[in-house]
Amino acid sequence: MTLVRVPPPLQQDVDLSQTYDAVIVGSGAAGGMAAHVLTTRGLRVLMLEAGKKLPIEQELRSMQWPYDHPRRGDAPPGSHAVSFNEYTIRQPPYAKGSAFKHVYSYVGGWSGSDYVKNILVDEKDHPYTGTRYAWVRARCLGGKTNIWGRLALRLSDYDFKAKSHDGYGEDWPISYTDLAPYYDKVDLYLGISGVKENLPHLPDSLFQRPTKLNFAEVKLRQSLAKTGQVLTPYRAGVTTDGLKHNKYRSKCYGRGACHRRPGGCDIHAVFDSPTGLIYPAMDTGYLTVRPNSIAYEVLVDKNTGRARGVSFLDSETRKSYAAKAKVVILAASTLESARLLLLSRSPQHPNGLGNSSGHVGHNFCEHVMGPGVTGLVKELVGKPHTLDDGRPGGFYIPRFRNLKDRQPGFIRGYGFEGNSGHSMFPAHVMSTPGFGAQFKKTVRDYAGAFISMGAFGEVLPRYESHVDLDPELKDGWGIPVLRFHYQFSDNERKMAEDMAATGREMLEAAGIEVVGQDREILTEGWSIHELGTARMGNDPKTSVLSQFQQSHDVRNLFVVDGSSHVSASCQNPTWTIMALAWRSCEYLADEFRKGNL
């Protein structure tokens, strides 16, 4: 079956003598979307990506059986992934003093680490300092979209107007009605699967056909429905019906690869930025992509204070170059974009570019995770194994706390992601005691009989939660690294207690025996949902960007990634990042044509 098309070739020598209409730093969800929208509007765009362009299908090998891999999917010897224990007892930089040749974030310790060893950054070359933080980074064309978790959710006015609801933090400078048309565009252009539930706090998308639930999940859904709660099939950024306008992506065939964390889809039914956005943008003739280009400064015109381009290092030759552009768009990820702004100091912008408010790097927020629950569905023990794999995800239980009620211990809310059914590797094997014939039979009989779920909760943005530049340490390219000043607070801890207790209640109410319970909070950063280091707002004194992600200080500078988010919500951010970028880039193109930038 030929499901993968050859991507357009990259230009060998990128012309850096010309001034592009726009230069985009980063090629993930945000950068890809900016490229899509601006090239559609006829702007000439240069995209700089710090990492390589990988032969991604050969990296992911989604359907490879473990026994066809010499180490059953493990990375080669000499590779080490930082464990939860290490994150807990050590301070960053985590690779410091390590005897291992390569050190990766915890994601490199998931089963299938060989499939992501070239996608994740090596911590040895990419250190950071400060408080504990599990910072997962992917430097390659498409960034983290190559391995993202695929849960594609909308935010609602419970999120955009959260301050109006409970008094904490700031409202976003937009409301749901401003963004809804752009969520629709993202849905239709990229494809999303799911089931309509008509929830005001989790608006529906324009869904393609949903993935299905299995026995245990239906059982839990029916039980939750009795108390007005919802379990819905995973809303996945996956095209299940196909996309006629995109020749680089196949529809989903429900193959078995999605169970393998970290995921990745080598037929690109799952959205990834290269096949979903960048290759089609290249086909317009308006996009030039330069990989191996590590941006380290946004260049500023001495006279006007406006952005005039980006300085970058070629990661292969280590030579320095400048890309000239009329508009500079940062989409390097929440933390890397903040780093780049802070690195870009000039006489006009002594605290870093676009930082007259002093808020760049601040109001840093994300999702807290860890608490979860595993249940045994007795009816399934000893039953023939069914095909439960090949789904981009199992189910999602949307937020239910602090919508109409007011919890005494915490504000905001959390949702559960979960899964059940038979998987390729029986996850319960190590918790099955003993050995021998009875052990083997027990593993077999209980395979597929478990259901588990874990919560993702909103972390409150606080001014003191921030990153700045380490005054001493530099990365493998001589660029100052980030220093973290960020820790969970009491609100997250109280919320986590509720996650654990409520997860247990939900399963028990469904008649499912709880056999495992996680109460511990995972290290800061674990959710890979970092947000909010250059927040939007109407007041230039307390925010970095306008509602169109345009710098208050520098009108031809935009930051279109998660750093613009005002609060984290508890819904996964990728779809919102792309809807916002689409909206901002429409505005950017309009202003560009009017000569206002």
Binding site: Y67, P77, H385
Partner: protein, 180 residues
């Protein structure tokens, strides 16, 4: 009704028959790895490991066990390429501790002990599974972890024992139930 049920059963049986013979399933009584040298382990260590893995996941009427699935070979090749001398040393001393425990319990090295005596040794090692204290108890966790990893990622483990149905193209409807 009976008719349609039996037809469904037949289709299922045919599918199973089609799936299984494609796999190189060795006889449930695969020969022990006596005299085989590993890439890292000595012949004696290799034979001991082979027997231990088979005791943890034995052949039964349902499916072949760890020996047929080549689990010892898998562990040995991972140890051979390991760049962590501590890990290699842990396995070497762990296997030695098994023999030591066997001598203590039955006066025999593990491989010359009777089948019942071997089970007694492993039972003693597994007794501290939740909170291992002695070196053999600690080694049991490592041994079991790598044995199950080797077995349940093997062809026999995935297809014959677990009868895993996934990693296939679903051309029509996805398997499962609608959210109604």
């Amino acid at each position: 009704m009976t008719d349609s049920l039996s037809r469904r059963d037949m289709i299922a049986a045919t599918a199973a028959a089609l799936a299984v013979p494609l796999l190189p399933v060795k006889a449930p009584t695969a020969p022990a790895a006596v005299g085989l040298s590993g890439k890292f382990l000595t012949p004696a260590e290799y034979a001991l490991l082979d027997e231990l893995t088979e005791l943890i996941i034995p052949s039964d009427a349902h499916s072949p066990g760890a020996r047929a699935a080549g689990v010892a070979g898998y562990i040995d090749s991972r140890l051979a390429e390991s760049l962590e001398p501590e890990r290699q040393a842990l396995w070497r001393s762990g296997l030695e501790a098994v023999d030591g425990l066997s001598r203590e319990l039955s006066g025999q090295p593990f491989l010359t002990a009777t089948p019942d005596q071997r089970v007694t040794v492993l039972t003693s090692m597994a007794a501290g599974e939740r909170d291992p204290k002695t070196p053999p108890e600690r080694f049991f966790g490592e041994l079991k972890r790598w044995t199950v990893r080797g077995y349940y990622t093997s062809k026999i483990g995935i297809h014959v024992d677990q009868e895993y149905k996934g990693n296939v193209y679903q051309q029509g409807e996805f398997a499962g139930f609608d959210a109604q």
